[in-house]
Every structure is written in C-alpha cells, then in structure tokens.
C-alpha cells in the first residue's frame, strides 16, 4: 500500500479529477483502507462545497449595458475609421469596379486579337490575298537566319506575279547583310499607308547610295522570296542557308 505522505499530495487532484487513471485507482484504493486520508479528503470536499455555497453571486444588472457604453466611448483609430468607410461602400463600388475592370480587360483582349484581321480586311483585301501574307512572313523571318542570296538572270516570265509589289533594299554591296524586318516593307500598291513607309525607308537609306527598286516579289513559302529587279533585268531567288 502506498504511503500516506505520498497519497496526501494526490488527494486534492483526486478530488478535482485531475489525476491519470492509474493514479486515480491508486488513491481510491488507499482511501478505502486509510481513515486519515479518507478524513482529509472529506475535509477538502466539504471545504469546496462551502466555498461554492458561500460564493456571493454579484448583481450584474446593467453590466452588459455598461460595457457597451464603455465600448461606444472608445476613441476610434484613424485606420479603423478609414477601413470602415471603405467597407461601407464595399458592396456597391466594389462590384461596379470589378465589372468595369472585367469589361475593360475583355475589350483590350478583343482589340489585340482582332486588330491584325481588321487591318488585313481594311487594307489588304481580306483573306483572299494569301501571297501578301506569306511574303510578309518571309520578310519577318529574314533577320532570324542568314540567307544566301542567289541572283540569276531569268526572263521576266520566270517571276510569278500575283500582285504588283515593291521592295526597297539597301545597295547591292550590303545585300548579304540582310535587311532587318522593318527594312523590308512589302506592300501592295494600293496600300497608301505602306507607301508612306516605303518613302520613309527610301529616305533613310539614301545615305548608302541608290536604292534597288524591285517591282515584283513573289513568295510561295515563308522562307523563300523571288523578285525581279527591272533595273538590272535580274530575277532574284532568296532562300535561307540549308542547315546540315
């Protein structure tokens, strides 16, 4: 049997139910057999009951109202006031703002996606002019890889004309240094906007000597271009280097 001195330390927690199960069993077994510890445990129990019975319940009438009054009197921090102000509009302005932003985003995306098609329809006669588009792609690809410039004499009939086109290139000495995409401006003659750009390009290249005027340009694939140069009576076939 456990010693009384050890058990006395556990009597309070035993009364409170705060012991581990095996300790509860140990104390219970001891108390049954030990009158002194049983008496002390009874004292603790009586003391607790007396304290609970004797506890005066405070009169809390109006307590909650007094607390709310104190809360109402609290100074409100500036940040809190600003937050409350915006929160009060959260339902109206927030929803409107979100709708407006979504609408604007859709409009921008639509414009970005449709602009090339709109320009093509407006200035290029729609999708029924695929060679122009192909030629533009070829010109755009030009700076991406070195091209071999093959110049062959050929009859004008060798050039295929699907439309009157004009390309202005730097002087012949710079031919291998292919022009940047912006330097090759392919345009139909009906395109007044591109004509203006051509003029600007001609002006910008004037310092390098006379420009080569190409009256016809044909491309059946984005990587090959064929054009005729009436000044030299030459047909130029422009193909990229073949990678081994």
């Amino acid at each position: 049997m456990a010693r009384c001195d050890d058990i006395k330390l556990l009597l309070g927690p035993f009364e409170d139910g705060e012991l581990e199960p095996h300790e509860m069993q140990e104390v219970a077994r001891h108390v049954v057999a030990c009158a002194a510890c049983d008496g002390e445990l009874a004292d603790y129990r009586a003391l607790g009951l007396a304290m609970r019975d004797g506890a005066e319940l405070p009169d809390l009438t109006g307590f909650a109202a007094a607390v709310l009054e104190l809360v109402d009197d609290l100074p409100i921090a500036l940040g809190t006031r600003v937050r409350r102000f915006f929160n009060s509009f959260a339902g109206g302005i927030g929803g409107t703002l979100a709708t407006a932003m979504a609408t604007a985003a859709i409009a921008v995306i639509t414009a970005v996606v449709l602009t090339p098609y709109a320009r093509q329809f407006t200035f290029g006669g729609g999708f029924a002019n695929p060679p122009q588009a192909a030629t533009r792609v070829a010109a755009d690809l030009a700076p991406a890889a070195p091209f071999a410039l093959a110049s062959v004499a050929a009859p004008q009939a060798a050039t295929v004309a699907s439309g009157e086109r004009r390309v202005r290139l730097p002087p012949a000495g710079d031919a291998n240094a292919l022009p940047a995409a912006s330097a090759i401006d392919l345009a139909s003659q009906q395109n007044s906007a591109d004509d203006a750009a051509d003029t600007a390009l001609a002006d910008s290249t004037a310092g390098h000597g006379p420009s080569t005027v190409i009256s016809r340009l044909e491309a059946s694939s984005p990587s090959v271009a064929v054009w005729s140069e009436p000044q030299t009576d030459t047909t130029v076939i422009w193909v990229p280097d073949q990678q081994p």
């Binding site: 330390l9 309070g12 927690p13 409170d16 705060e18 008496g39 002390e40 009874a42 004292d43 603790y44 009586a46 003391l47 607790g48 007396a50 304290m51 609970r52 019975d53 004797g54 506890a55 005066e56 319940l57 405070p58 809390l60 307590f63 909650a64 007094a66 607390v67 709310l68 104190l70 809360v71 609290l74």
Partner: protein, 164 residues
C-alpha cells in the same frame, strides 16, 4: 458575448482582488480590452480562457497598484476566526450560512493572493488545472502545489479556529 461570460469574468477578477465591487469594474474593463484586442486573439487557447486571462492580468495589476488585498495576520486573524467551527461535523452544518460565508472569506483572506486566486478559480469558478495555468500564466505544477498548500492551510485554519 458579455452576458455569456460576465459572471465567470467577474469571478476570476474577484478571485484575485477579493472585492466584488472592484471585480465588477475590472470585469467591465476586461470586456473593453477584449473588444479592442479581438484581432490579436489567437486560437491557441479557447476564447473563454483568453478572456479570463485578461481579467486575471487586469486584476493582478490592480492589486499591485492599489495594494488593497486583505491579508490578516496574527491577532487580527485569530479575532476574525476565533468562532469558526470545524468544516466537518454537526457544528459546521448548524452554522448559519451567512456566518459561514463570512468566516470562509476571512480564512481566504489569510492566504496569499496567489494561493487564494488559485483555490477560488478551482473551487468557485470550476476551472481546470490547465485553464488556471493559462489564466494565471503559471505552470501546471505550480497550480497543483499552490492548491495543495491553500487547501491544507484553509483546513488547518478552520480546524484550529473551530476549537475542535
């Protein structure tokens, strides 16, 4: 929320300051503080424990500031409790409730504020050892030792003054 916790909060404050009027004022201050710091509440403990801890801290600060806690020593204590009966037996049962309450309160006044707070939180407010540990910010072992001492001391005082 106030009505739900007000009685317990007053009880916690009263366990520390041992004065009902002061406890009610401190309890009101407790709810105001809780309202102001609600955003800081973390769910590491229950809301009620958090609230009781605020009350206990306010009460401890109040006690330190005001120095109002009652500690009867020597002859004062003997005069106060000279007719206190034993907590067991017929005489204890026959004592009028009001008189009993007065004597128990007097015996509690004999304890240090720390021991009194612990035994009141346990016996009157019914807080568990872990809750008392959280509220008073002391280890659970300290709660157990303080309770053991407080119970033994109260039992001894009541028996001695009972003359049995």
């Amino acid at each position: 929320m106030v009505e739900r916790y007000q009685r317990r909060v007053v009880g916690v404050a009263q366990a520390v300051v041992h004065n009902q009027d002061d406890a009610i004022e401190l309890a009101q201050e407790t709810f105001v503080r809780a309202y102001e710091n609600l955003a800081k509440f973390e769910s590491r403990s229950s809301f009620s424990t958090w609230l009781y801890r605020i009350a206990a801290n306010l009460a401890i600060d109040f006690r330190r500031r005001e120095g109002r806690h009652l500690v009867l020593r020597g002859e004062d204590a003997e005069n106060e409790f000279q007719r206190l009966p034993s907590p067991r037996g017929d005489s204890f049962q026959e004592t009028a409730r009001g008189e009993l309450n007065r004597r128990i309160n007097g015996a509690l006044g004999e304890l240090t504020p720390e021991h009194r707070a612990v035994i009141l939180l346990r016996e009157v407010e019914g807080l568990s050892y872990d809750e008392i540990s959280d509220v008073l910010d002391v280890p659970r072992g300290t709660v157990m030792s303080r309770l053991h001492y407080a119970r033994g001391r109260l039992r001894s005082i009541l028996k001695d003054l009972g003359g049995s």
